[in-house]
Symmetry: C2
Subunit: 141 residues, 2 copies
DNA sequence: GAAGATTGTAAGGTAAACCTAACACTTTGT
DNA sequence: ACAAAGTGTTAGGTTTACCTTACAATCTTC
């Protein structure tokens, strides 16, 4: 019934996303801080960062801030974008409260297909532009 | 940024769902056949079935068909329902082709919140009832 | 320029979910 | 009824992603 794919594991995508958020905020981020953010041990983060380095997604030297390589930046942007497409869709169209929208987005962002995301973008856009008419349809029944 | 839950692993839910489908079709299902359906070794299926038995979700004796306990039936129905809510939503609202809709549903069914599913049900329903008016809105721009 | 705090990493461990190979048991077909 | 085919289980292995403990390296602050 189902099947599997995945090039970057959902875990590594989470690390990358958090690194990207620090990058957006222009906040230097070290391994220990990342561990705190993700609620994961420093040791596990250390391992994960090695993987990201070996895949040329981040630059990292002990005791320095983590930074994204061009490839890492690109990948991170993709994950981050997915998160927001989902979150917006859940909030704007399905009227899910922000926090719950975000929690769902967090999990789904790693597995959803690009095609579905594209439709969501269009749909959210359409929905926002026509909110009033749609509300009317809903009420008219 | 994210967090975790899960009572029945996504893997076990897949087994349960497939058993439920056989139940719906009134097709007797043995471990070996389940292994073929899920593309997993007989050995792994054997292990998984033991877990499902020990959680009182299925009844199973070697060389006989697998059957669902009342609790297992209930759980399976929930997973199956989730799958269809998602699939319908993707197909009807987002106009995703059937197969892709199903593939996405397969993965997301294990992690999405009930609240989002409820909204999807309502939305799909609303959308189907107002398809024409909505199409018009889309075209008018 | 040390002391104390923080940060990083190595070693060794666990758990889940898979695998193959080998063997035993059961069913089927003639 | 018995050989062949199919089914199930066991043992042992792999991988991934975590963990804790302990120690090493680096900062920071007085």
């Amino acid at each position: 019934m189902c099947a599997k794919t995945q090039t970057l594991s959902s875990g590594l995508e989470d690390y990358l996303e958090e690194i990207y958020i620090a990058h957006l905020n222009e906040t230097p981020l070290k391994g220990a801080e990342l561990a705190r953010k993700l609620n994961i041990s420093r040791a596990s983060v250390s391992e994960a960062l090695s993987k990201l380095v070996s895949r040329d997604l981040i630059k990292y030297n002990s005791y320095e801030a983590i930074s994204l390589t061009p490839k890492g930046l690109e990948d991170a942007q993709k994950v981050y974008a997915k998160h927001h497409i989902l979150k917006n869709f859940f909030e704007e169209v399905l009227e899910i409260p922000a926090e719950e929208a975000s929690e769902n987005a967090c999990k789904i962002e790693h597995i959803i297909s690009q095609n579905v995301l594209d439709r969501m973008i269009n749909f959210t856009d359409f929905y926002k532009k026509n909110r009033e008419s749609i509300e009317k349809l809903k009420k008219d029944k």
